[in-house]
Amino acid sequence: MKTIVKAIAMAAAVLVAQGAHAQDKKFTVAYIAPSLDIDYWQWVAHGVQQKAKELGMDYVEYTSENSPAKQMDNARVAVTRGVNAIVIGPVSSTSTPPLLNYLAQQKVPIAFAGIGPQPGETKFTSSVTANNYETGLAQGKYTCELAKERGGSEVGMLSLPQDRENAQKYLKGAQEAFNANGCQLVQMLETKGLTINEAVTQANDLLTAHPKVKAIYGMYDQAGTGAAKALATRGLKGKIGVTVADGSPTTIQLLKDGAIQGIFFQEAVGQGMDATEQVYKALKGEKTTQNMALVMPLVKAADIDSEDAKKVIARVFPQ
Amino acid sequence: MDSNKTALISVRNLMKGFGATKVLRGVNFTVLPGEIHALLGGNGAGKSTMIRIITGAVRKDDGDVVLASPRGGIPKIAVVHQELALLPDLTVAENIALVHAASAATLVRNRSQAARAHEALCLIDPHLAHHALHRKASELSMHEGQIVEIARALSTGAEVLLLDEPTANLTAGETERLFVVLRRLATEKNIGIVFVSHRMKEIRQLCDVCTIIRDGMTVIDALPLTHLSDNEIIHQMGQPTERSVERDKRVLDQAGGGVVLRGPETSVPVLKGQILGLAGAPAGPSRLIAVLNGTAANADWEVDAKDWPKRPTSPRQAVQLGIGHVSGDRRLKGVLSQLPIVDNVLASRRVREGRHLVRGSERDECLGLVKALKLKAGSIWDLPSTLSGGNQQKLLVARWLGMPLKMVVFEEPTRGVDIGTKREIYELIRNMAGQGTIVVWWSTENVELLELCDEILAFDTEGRAKGLLPQDQFNEDALADLTGMAA
């Protein structure tokens, strides 16, 4: 019994100390990642951390391990710990309403980075995402151009799982662009494991089933890498165009080598930075922007060493 | 027997084949309420196949099986096997109540469970009902476990009780108590009891009538036992009746190669080529055997001999030293069930001789052994499960046959084996001894020890060594006295 009392007393002391800590006007921002097994979320984390440092905020990080329940726990833990603001990459859009209700009660500002909240939700400070539809439109158009340059009109796609909202938007944009520019999407294969090895196999299968395909639309980074690898093995490097969304050191290298013709960069670091800036403004009582849909900038092989490209890449992954 | 009683089980002209082999070629079998019926037959005669057809585990090819309860409908048949079918980690009460749960969702109510179990057990053993209800099944003795199983079977309303060698693991006292219970069940509750055993003495003690099956056919159909002599029974089972009366004239080598087994307050010198019998309940002999085959964790025995360690540290070391081991517990300690016969036979040789490759010559080696043992096998590449129990047992002996061994340890090698096969195994044991191998042989059947051994070390039910009987003092009563076990 005594030990329990002691433990409670100690826990209380810690909480009080933390509360006191929060009093001295130094804000803490928490970043809740859906999982850390994808580079992307680590890069967002980097952006949040960098911006927090710039703004004089403390930084803490949680991982939801792709579980909505863990995500909710993380938010509660963060609030209990005295965190002032949250930047989140949610496990899914649909997992957000209870979270937002809770944070609204607690009056903690929250900004989304990468994936937005469920449509119709309003109880959040800001949502910084890529404009998937616009990007799909642009990448579809460019992919079709590549196919035409190579004397064909058939294109293939290595897609994210189509149960994801961003994947559906990408596809919608791309389809419209293909139709408008006279290309046919002859096959779309969805990934399960998001690994390069799987993408290589899928690209090979795609080309076996549809030998007339002249360009491949890669919806995620590993897809571009896998497609480039498959083409290299078949001696078709450059003869079939490859575009990819996301961007990473690996795909940038492939772009330089001419194995990929264009990358639509998803500004992971930038999203983290922008989201952090928005919650900071909210804490300061300044005006915030609720919807920030960033169109993903295209960098082609020829421009990779330009200043503009370097600025873009700085907002993609940590240098 | 009243002839106007309706039979609980009536089997007529039953046929069954597995592939090309006809296992049953016309079996008749009738069980009346209130009788104790001995079901006899050699290994592979078709007893177990018939039982499995009656219980519905196997489909018949042809013939009639009529099951009729005097109460109307189909009578419940409960089979109690030699190996216990209790869940070791559950209590006796739970074990009994388990079969009464109406469905998986039935709540477990301890009080009513215990009451029901108590009631069931009281019917046959009020003492046990009083003491054992909340003990785990694993803590029971073999006999108690069997009683619990029978109680459980009866509590479900079984009208036919099928006992498959229930006495194999029981002491004399336990056997006697079981028989009292069985007789009472037959007379008071009018239950039909089928008793499968290889022990002539017990059959005479307990049973009223007997049916003998031989090569898949009924040769004796429900004849009162008083009408048959022992020799007639053995003859009808197709077993050689002659008993090797004259002992073999082995000259024991006094010179060397012998060992001394030292135990608590005991010291047993054993010469090369000598057959040492171990008699008594499992506790004592199994401790000595564990030391000999290298499985003992903490031992009270040790071996005193030249070029031997005091105790082999593992079965591997024991085998490499030349100590063989044959167990009657074929399923657990004997047969490699998923490997073909050839691997089963040669496994010991490969270890003993440190063979690294599977040789082509092993085929002939195995065929030779199979032939020498008259092993009835389809092919040496078949799985051991295609063999009858007795043939599986011979397979285990084959492992050690014709190898230069220092010692072979037999652990109830004739358990569940018919008389014919037993005789063959005795012969093999004698041959091994004849080649100078020390044979240590534990059996719960005192008669066979008395027949074959040069000396017998008797253990009591507590596992203490009670005395060493030299051949000239062999005597069934003396041995029964020392061990507390009947033959």
Binding site: - | P315, L336, K371, W381, D382
Partner: protein, 330 residues
């Protein structure tokens, strides 16, 4: 395993000694899987003729190589009656360690050996905890599965790593024997070697003995613990080798690379006729099982069925394989 009943009773002394079972009867269930693979391929070819092109065969072989090698390792463990859940994580961690070593200036060979060390170390840990401490294989390999998976993230902070060594691709796609790419060569070597060990080497028979009846095997003097230990080390090492092959192929190491492979490897072994209760299975069967899984994936992609159906189709294949196995042994 049934051959014609040649009775060996004492009576027929004149009967000739029985012949060894023919290869056809020994490999009966393997033949059934091989036929099933061909049927599947032809079925896909009906929809997409290119499925039967040599290019597609090459794709299938390349895609199946890591799974084939991993399955062979898992097979050994399953024959001994165990299970190895850690192979997928070992596969991933091997890649990360190798790529990391290369990025830090190690030569191709020493980096690969470091990668292979992952499998040996984790296999040994599995084996030691199972045989010496006596923990259940499922629990032990569940632990190492989790640890190796997290280590795969830890070593590079979750980032995937490219391999820049110019010649490393030769390990997978080069040709020690002209005309035969190395990944096929490795698969052939491992399959033949393992099949030989399992059938013709005493230690190979021990794997079956231990899986079949551990107590009986122990009493026979078979070194049960050593045999089981060896099984886990082999399994870990093979998983590592498969990991190296994949890194060499795509010149990239990813922390999640092997995540889906563990269940596929177990499935391949089961399709190949092994029983999860131990004591049965063959190397050729496991390889055919791995090929069948790859052919299914390939077919689903070629026909353009939603790839989420792959799991269901593979599940169905396992069911059919197990049912065939069950009824052919009745």
């Amino acid at each position: 395993m049934t051959t014609k009943a040649t009775s060996m009773t004492s009576n027929d002394k004149t009967a000739p000694p029985p012949k060894s079972p023919s290869l056809l009867s020994v490999y009966r269930s393997e033949l059934a899987i091989a036929i099933a693979c061909v049927v599947l391929l032809v079925g896909v070819g009906f929809f997409v003729p290119a499925a039967l092109s040599s290019g597609n065969f090459a794709n299938i072989l390349q895609a199946s190589a890591p799974l084939v090698i991993m399955s062979l390792g898992v097979l050994i463990v399953i024959i001994t009656g165990g299970i190895d859940l850690s192979v997928g994580s070992i596969f991933s961690l091997t890649g990360m360690v190798t790529a990391l070593a290369m990025a830090n200036g190690f030569s191709d060979i020493s980096a690969s050996l470091a990668g292979l060390g992952v499998g040996i170390v984790f296999g040994s840990i599995n084996g030691a905890l199972i045989t010496l401490v006596g923990l259940a294989p499922f629990v032990v390999t569940l632990i190492t599965y989790a640890v190796a998976a997290s280590l795969a993230f830890i070593v590079t902070n979750g980032r995937s790593l490219g391999v820049n060594s110019p010649d490393y691709w030769l390990f997978n796609s080069g040709e020690f024997i002209p005309g035969l790419p190395n990944f096929i060569l490795f698969c052939l070597i491992f399959t033949v070697a393992l099949e030989f060990v399992l059938r013709k080497v005493t230690a190979g028979r021990w794997f079956y003995s231990v899986g079949s009846s551990p107590m009986a095997a122990y009493l026979l003097g078979i070194p049960v613990k050593r045999t089981r230990f060896a099984a886990y080390v082999i399994s870990g090492t093979m998983a590592s080798f498969a990991g190296l092959l994949t890194v060499s192929y795509i010149l990239n190491a990813e922390a999640t690379a092997g995540a889906s492979l563990m269940l596929q490897a177990i499935a391949a072994v089961v399709i190949g006729g092994a029983s999860l209760s131990g004591g049965s299975g063959s190397a050729i069967g496991a390889v055919l099982g791995a090929l069948m899984i790859t052919i299914i994936q390939n077919g689903v992609n070629l026909i353009g069925i939603n790839s989420f159906w792959q799991g269901s189709v593979t599940g169905l294949a396992i069911l059919v394989a197990v049912l065939i196995d069950r009824f052919s042994h009745r």
